[in-house]
Structures are given as structure tokens and as C-alpha cells.
Symmetry: C2
């Protein structure tokens, strides 16, 4: 069957993920990726395919290994707890690693050349999927009486996601976790109540 791989694929993928997290899709070069992973270029191509495929695998890993608090949050009993848990966990994640602040899922959405359009669209789709999950959760909360009849589940979902995206930008601009949490406190200050 031939020779075995010398490097750990999972570790290499995580290292590549961190590079993308810091520099975005187009900002990360193969020189960066080989240095961070300790793996030469042909080995990266052999293990992951081309750059776009590598990024998509890194994005998958990001959702399963770093955004794992989202499914946990969606199972919490009240809409407010769902929102608060997601927001505070995101603030922590956005500032946990000084070398790659912010959110990988957001960094590729904004700017880039036309070549990066497929990647940008993939990130937009992933963002929209998260929005749909949150909206459905808030619709359930309204049906359960956890949110008042006057509440707007979709508006709340859009609002929570706007805060998430805003925090990602602010974290990239160097905000501390404490400053992000002040944003959250303000956002949650008058969450609609069913009383």
C-alpha cells in the first residue's frame, strides 16, 4: 500500500484554519500555509485538494470545533438564554486567540477579488443557515409563550446576528472581551418579555 503520511492531517488542518482565520481566504498564501502547518505544498494538495477545498474543509472544522456552542445554545429553555449564550460565547471566541481575533466565517464575506466569489458565497450561505436556525428557534419561543405575541422572531434573529457580525469587526479592530460584553449587555438590556 505504500508509504504512510508523516504529518497529522487534523493538526495541519487546524493550523491552516488559524491562518485563514487571521488573514482570510485570499490573504492567506501557500507560503503562510506551509509555514504554519509544517507541511510542504504538494502534501497539502494531496491531502486537501486545492486552496478552495482546503478552505472549505477548514470552514467545516470551524463550525464543528469552534462554533459548537451554537447547537448547545439553541437547546436552552428561553429565547433570551439562547441569545445571551450565543453572544457571550462569540465574544469569548472572538477574543480568545490574540493571533486570530474575530470570526473566520465573517472575514471572507466582505471584500475580495472576483476569483474569491465562490468562497464568499459559501460563507454567505453558512451565515444564512445560522440565521434560519435562530429565527426558527425564536418562532418556537413565541409559540411557547416565551416571547410575547408582539415579538418579531425574524427581526430578533437579524438583530442578534448583526451584533455577532459587529463584534467580529470590533474584535478584529482590537476590542477586548470586556468591551464586547458591554455591547452585549446593551443589546440584551430590553429583550422582550412575555410578562
Amino acid at each position: 500500500m505504500g508509504r504512510h503520511r508523516e504529518f497529522d492531517v487534523e493538526k495541519a488542518l487546524d493550523a491552516a484554519l488559524c491562518v485563514f482565520w487571521r488573514k482570510g481566504y485570499e490573504g492567506a498564501s501557500y507560503a503562510d500555509l506551509t509555514e504554519a502547518t509544517g507541511v510542504e505544498r504538494p502534501a497539502l494538495y494531496s491531502a486537501f485538494g486545492n486552496k478552495e477545498a482546503l478552505f472549505r474543509k477548514a470552514l467545516d472544522r470551524y463550525y464543528t470545533h469552534y462554533l459548537d456552542y451554537i447547537p448547545v445554545a439553541l437547546d436552552l429553555p428561553t429565547a433570551r438564554e439562547v441569545a445571551a449564550h450565543i453572544l457571550y460565547q462569540a465574544a469569548d471566541l472572538n477574543t480568545r486567540y490574540p493571533d486570530h481575533t474575530g470570526c473566520l466565517g465573517i472575514h471572507g464575506v466582505l471584500a475580495g477579488s472576483d476569483d474569491a466569489e465562490p468562497v464568499r458565497q459559501a460563507l454567505i450561505d453558512a451565515r444564512a443557515a445560522g440565521e434560519a436556525q435562530l429565527r426558527q428557534r425564536f418562532e418556537r419561543a413565541k409559540a411557547e409563550g416565551d416571547l410575547p405575541e408582539t415579538a418579531d422572531p425574524e427581526g430578533l434573529a437579524l438583530f442578534v446576528l448583526a451584533i455577532l457580525h459587529g463584534m467580529a469587526v470590533q474584535a478584529k479592530a482590537g476590542f477586548s472581551r470586556e468591551r464586547l460584553e458591554r455591547v452585549i449587555d446593551q443589546a440584551l438590556s430590553t429583550w422582550p418579555t412575555a410578562s
Copy 2:
């Protein structure tokens, strides 16, 4: 004194600004810039300097020609009016031009290669300047009794800017102005009142 310039410098700068708006600093190539401006490369270098200088001039123009609603907003009588005016104007600007949605000032903050670090820092600084302006305005509002004693001017400024940044991301993801305004409505529903 020699030959006169054939192209309109202001028009060329505005065309370049729109390219940066859509693709960010590194995503915009000189091929894009020459096509959009109708000006050959050496003429761009002669008129504006290198790419970084051109971007900085475009950023200046962005603030003076497109973010001109900010100084207007800061002069409104109440903090809530200030926030509402800025947010609604931003929602409009973020969705006004289908070819370049979102906010130029945000697109460069997030990801990019190490070469773009000076530009990223310039955008971060500009963002911080806006934050300071808004914080000072809210501090004044608190002193004037327009905001309650319990209000946190800096927290409110951070919050408003988070919404702005979040909307920029959402606009780039294709949100309509109506959807952005639902975010704003939710954000302003948490606004503290002096009563």
C-alpha cells in the same frame, strides 16, 4: 508648463473608490482600477501615487462625500435622534448601490495579507475616531439630562457601532434595506430613556 491632464481627477477617484468599496483594498487590482477609471496605470500613479496612497485618498473622499451624514447627525438634539439618524442613513448607504454594498471603511478591517497591515490600521483608526465622536456626543447627552444617569455613554457608542458594522456585513451578504431597518428598529427599542 506642458500638456494638460485629459481625465477628470475627481471622477477617476470616485470610480476607484467604488472599486475599493466592492472589492476591498487587496481585492482591487490595477486592471480593475484602470478599467473603472478609464485611466491608464502610469496616469493613476502620476495623479495619486501608489496603490496605498490612492486608497487613502479614496477613503478620505468616502468620509467627506458618503459619510457626510455623520457630522449632521451629531448635531441633532437628542442622543436617540443621533443614533437613529446615523443608523438609518447607514442602512440606506449600505444598500444604495447594488454594485458595491456595505461599507468601504469596514471591508478592509477584517482580513488580508501582511502587506495590507498599514491600510488595515488606517481603517481601524478611522473607525476608532468615529467611536470617540459618538461617545463624546453621548456623554454630552448624559450631562444634558437627555440620557438617564444610569446610562453608559461608551457602552451605547460601542453598541451603535456594532450595529453599524453588523449591517455592513449583512448588506454585503445581500440584505435589503428593509431587513436592515428591522435590525435598527430592534436596536433602538433598547434605547434608554430619561423618563
